[in-house]
């Protein structure tokens, strides 16, 4: 099987850099091009110091994109939709890491992103980028829209419960603790180290855009709700989503184990983590930095009907670049875990 020629468009950001790291080490891939308007002409390692002496690629402009098999798009939201035609003309397959093609209904873009989607015709053409939910559709697909990082953590945490109708869909409360790399490589007053370090900052208590994907992919509508809040914590990579779900009727722990084992028991990248002792009984983001794992744990509230589900991942890994490579492997009929074998570090 000869190596698949790929390009990364918008490769100077964090997701683009993580993708480049993974694809350079991927047995079945040849990275032909990396583009960046802001860093055109510079070597890739100038933006990604961990790739020093690992690649001689230099950033070119998107206009100079040569034909290739797969283009990974890591452009800001709203920019991808403007360039998609040009990319489709030069690339067999597209994996888009932005939010521009995640939602199936144009009106959801007005509601959640405040803009009228200019290409509603394309909305249905992309497969939503969580392989655990859309594996068959991804095999041989041409267009995949990679899922948001918070959305991936929450969707994987709650999917078994809503799929089997065991939880009330109107009052789920989710609080995600997130790292600073979620904000990307762009500098802002809030990301200035003396301001950002050691913070426990309620930065999005309500109205987080990723909720739209959660509702869509969990099949929720009408008066169903995912009450989502995000709190920034002193991490660079990592998300821990703590989901408070209210069960329709009494269940015991074994039934919950059974439900999650049934859905994820055979999954290579979703692990059920709920242990009796030790410092890491529940999912822990720092253990997953650089990996494509989403770890999920839970605890049943003894006296009521509340189930707490905890879900952790690396926002740049399973939340972005890792999951895009997982989708790439499925689209090309490769081993789904190819290039995604890193186990994560401990202690770290």
């Amino acid at each position: 099987m000869s190596a698949v020629p790929v390009a990364i468009v918008g490769a100077s950001g964090y997701a683009g850099g993580e993708l480049l790291r993974l694809l350079l080490a991927h047995p079945g891939v040849e990275v032909r091009q990396v583009t960046s308007e802001s860093r055109a002409g510079e070597p890739a390692a100038a933006a990604h110091p961990n790739l020093r002496r690992r690649t001689t690629l230099t950033f070119s402009r998107m206009d100079d994109l040569h034909p290739c098999d797969t283009a990974f798009l890591c452009l800001p939201h709203g920019r991808t939709v403007e360039v998609i035609d040009g990319v489709l003309a030069r690339s067999e397959r597209v994996i888009d890491l932005s939010a521009d093609f995640r939602l199936r209904r144009a009106e959801d873009y007005v509601r959640w992103y405040g803009f009228a989607h200019p290409r509603p015709d394309l909305l249905g053409a992309f497969v939503y980028g969580i392989p655990e939910l859309h594996r068959e559709a991804m095999r041989g697909a041409r267009l995949v829209s990679s899922a948001g990082c918070n959305a991936t953590a929450v969707i994987l945490a709650l999917h078994p419960l809503f799929k089997h109708g065991v939880a009330d869909t109107r009052c789920t409360v989710v609080e995600a603790k997130v790292g600073s790399s979620e904000g990307g490589a762009g500098v802002s007053p809030a990301s200035h180290h003396p301001v950002r370090a050691n913070c426990v900052r309620s930065y999005k208590p309500t109205g987080h855009r990723h909720t739209a994907e959660m509702l869509q992919e969990l099949g929720l509508s009408g008066d169903s709700r995912i009450h989502f809040s995000a709190t920034a914590v002193d991490l660079v990579r990592g998300i821990l989503a703590t989901c408070h779900v209210f069960l329709n009727n009494r269940v015991d722990e074994k039934q919950i184990w059974k439900l999650y084992r049934q859905e994820y028991g055979a999954e290579p990248f979703v692990r059920i983590v709920k242990e009796r002792d030790g410092a890491f009984r529940y999912p822990e983001p720092k253990l997953l930095a650089g990996t494509n794992f989403c770890d999920i744990g839970f605890e049943l509230d003894g006296d009521g009907n509340r189930l707490v589900v905890m879900s952790a991942l690396d926002n740049l890994g399973k939340g972005a670049a890792g999951q895009a490579v997982q989708a790439f492997n499925l689209m090309h009929g490769l081993d789904e875990t190819a290039g995604l074998g890193f186990a994560g570090l401990h202690p770290v």
Partner: protein, 58 residues
């Protein structure tokens, strides 16, 4: 045409120039990251390209 070589005026590294390099083109030294301007081609001569001093503000 075999790739042209020159040396970095800052750190003495051997700098490989692209086959289609042209005068006053700016290339980057792989070792010290300096931006270098191609002052002459035959033989290739590199000089440090004027770069604004980055202020870390520390």
């Amino acid at each position: 045409m075999s790739p042209l070589h020159s040396t970095c005026p800052i750190c003495d590294a051997t700098v490989e120039l692209p086959g289609d390099v042209s005068a006053s083109q700016v290339v980057r030294c792989g070792d010290c990251g300096a931006d270098l301007e191609v002052q002459a081609l035959d033989p290739p001569v590199l000089v440090e390209a004027p770069a604004e001093e980055e202020d870390w503000g520390e």
